[in-house]
Amino acid sequence: MTPHDSGFGPDLVEVFGPKHEDGGPELIQLLTPEGERVHHPEFDMDFSAEQLRGFYRDMALVRRVDVEATALQRHGELGIWAQLLGQEAAQIGAGRAIRPNDYVFPTYREHGVAWCRGVDPLHLISLFRGVDHGGWNPKDHNFNLYTIVIGAQTLHAVGYAMGMQRDGVVGTGDPERDACVLAHFGDGASSQGDVNESFIFAASYNAPVVFFCQNNQWAISEPIERQSRIPLYQRALGFGFPGVRVDGNDVLATYAVTQAALQRARDGQGPTFIEAYTYRMGAHTTTDDPTRYRLSTDVESWKLKDPIARLEVYLKRNGYAGDDFFADIAAEADAIGHTLREGTKAMPDPKPLDIFDRVYSEITPELAAQRDGFTAYLESFEGAVH
């Protein structure tokens, strides 16, 4: 037996296929980068013109939110901002596939999903401005707060889904009743123990959860190859549930695939892993400088796959939307920009003493003493020039 015929089966490249820059043959796509509608044997779907325009509107407006927030950071209004540029289709496709009763666990970059959940973008901005750790009430939107510790939320998602099982809202066959969880994370996050444990728990309990990984090719400066040498979606197979790779720059395909996976979960058929193959067009955050680690030609080649541009071509070419429509969206975007700028500047700062009240459901005597001491200390400066 030679080393190269070791009995461990065919070479991995044969098993998993060669690396494809464009996502490879396994990529599920319904709309090409050129705006051509293509068909898929399993995930095809009919979309109404209204639906298509809705996708466009969502993507265009969250891009504007993102651009506006980035500018606010540059002007010193925000401490930092994590851009979603380039990932609009992945987020809107997933965000629109969720139903109201479903629950979503975002990372720190899910501005598009937040948008679909009706979260006021100012509530995202307050986090990055340093006013709070996220201004919305998760229960009002079935949308958890952003989680910054990479991957931690995937376990919360599985636990929440296990709660749904216990509440009897999984697999009842009643579409009004059945619900599930959507768990977001990035390609880098896929290396964290927590994320892999969440796969194990989800498989073990057959929990109604869809793992939605935006493979934007980068974890800050590290390329996806550092995290996995095979396509990420195949990770799921080793845990005993299906994985698929969808074109994350194709809002139609992302919607179709996510919707089917969520339905599987609601029906009690357990977890699914979706790898949304996309690209982080911007920096990791506003403090990052991607020119230090990636080629501008890469960025250029991904610009040709822009998620919004391809839908625009498709809408126009098929007469689903006219100039009026695009003008309206542009105006709406401008209005949003205005609201965000004004809202950010008008945002009140939090009050120091509040922090003491939110540590526990009721302040403890020892913390109350600390607060009182601090109150007296602050009062000692009244009128002073400090």
Binding site: Y103, D132, H133, G134, N137, P138, K139, N144, L145, T147, V149, A152, T154, L155, H156, A157, V158, G159, Y160, A161, M162, G163, M164, Q165, R166, D167, G193, D194, E197, S198, I200, F201, S204, I355, D357, R358, V359, Y360, S361, T364, P365, E366, L367
Partner: protein, 325 residues
Amino acid sequence: MTKVTLAKGLNMGLRKAMEADDKVLLMGEDVGTLGGVFRITDGLQKDFGEDRVIDSPLAESGIVGTAVGMAMRGYRPVVEIQFDGFVYPAYDQIVCQVAKLHFRSQGRIKMPMVIRIPFGGGIGAVEHHSESPEAQFAHTPGLKVVTCSNPVDGYWMIQQAIAHDDPVIFLEPKRQYHAEKAELDESATPVPLFSSQLVRHGSDATLLAYGPTVKTAMKAAEAAAGEGKSLEVIDLRTLSPLDMGPVFDSVRRTGRAVVVHEAHVNLGLGAELSARITEECFYSLEAPVLRVGGFDTPYPASRLEEDWLPDLDRVLDAVDRSLEF
């Protein structure tokens, strides 16, 4: 009235809590069919079913992390960590998520989770089975940390912890699980959860103990009495928040305090107690607060553990040093 061990008291308390509120779930390794390696959850899966007493995959971060999600969904998960030394894979979830979610959400998310940890040494075990991790949790705002020293407290405190809306690290002195029985009156009114208790009156010095060392302190006080020294003993019960009222009262009377815990002395609870007592009772102190604890070495192989753990003699030695000051 029945006589129960600490293990039984906890088991009965868990049962009561599960009967009282069907949102209460137990999760952990081997808690189901086996009833836990210490049998604290014995019989509960049989009676409450697999949906409420959940055997989990072997992953502590996974257990605590999924419990967070359950709590967000309105459940009240009670997590068992099999041994103290195995809580660390879950440490990130505990200090960054469990402890902070209420704060992060401006009070909108509640985290009524109890994390039960058998802790402390003296059972002749191999490495990682005899740790005392309380200081690390007490240093983390957002968590509460309590420990019971006897069967009656075990019965009541576990129920109170489960009914409480904040996350509670619940430390169980494993060496005491089957050590001795106490009368349990289920119709009594329990002492509030976050309060310390004076368990022996004395006038010459105050011993501060909790969990496994309460027994040691009581024995030391007994022995000291034989030598004409009168020691007061306080069972702290709550480690975060601390209930310093009874401590300050006592130290103001006795003028001397000795803290006894199994955790390493360096940055153990004794450090905080010493600092606070000195801040508040400066002019009453006849001697510095002295500390008796595990040495600042890793927990040793079990043939050495009785040397390493604070015992009656080391407590008395500290008392003597305090009295001689």
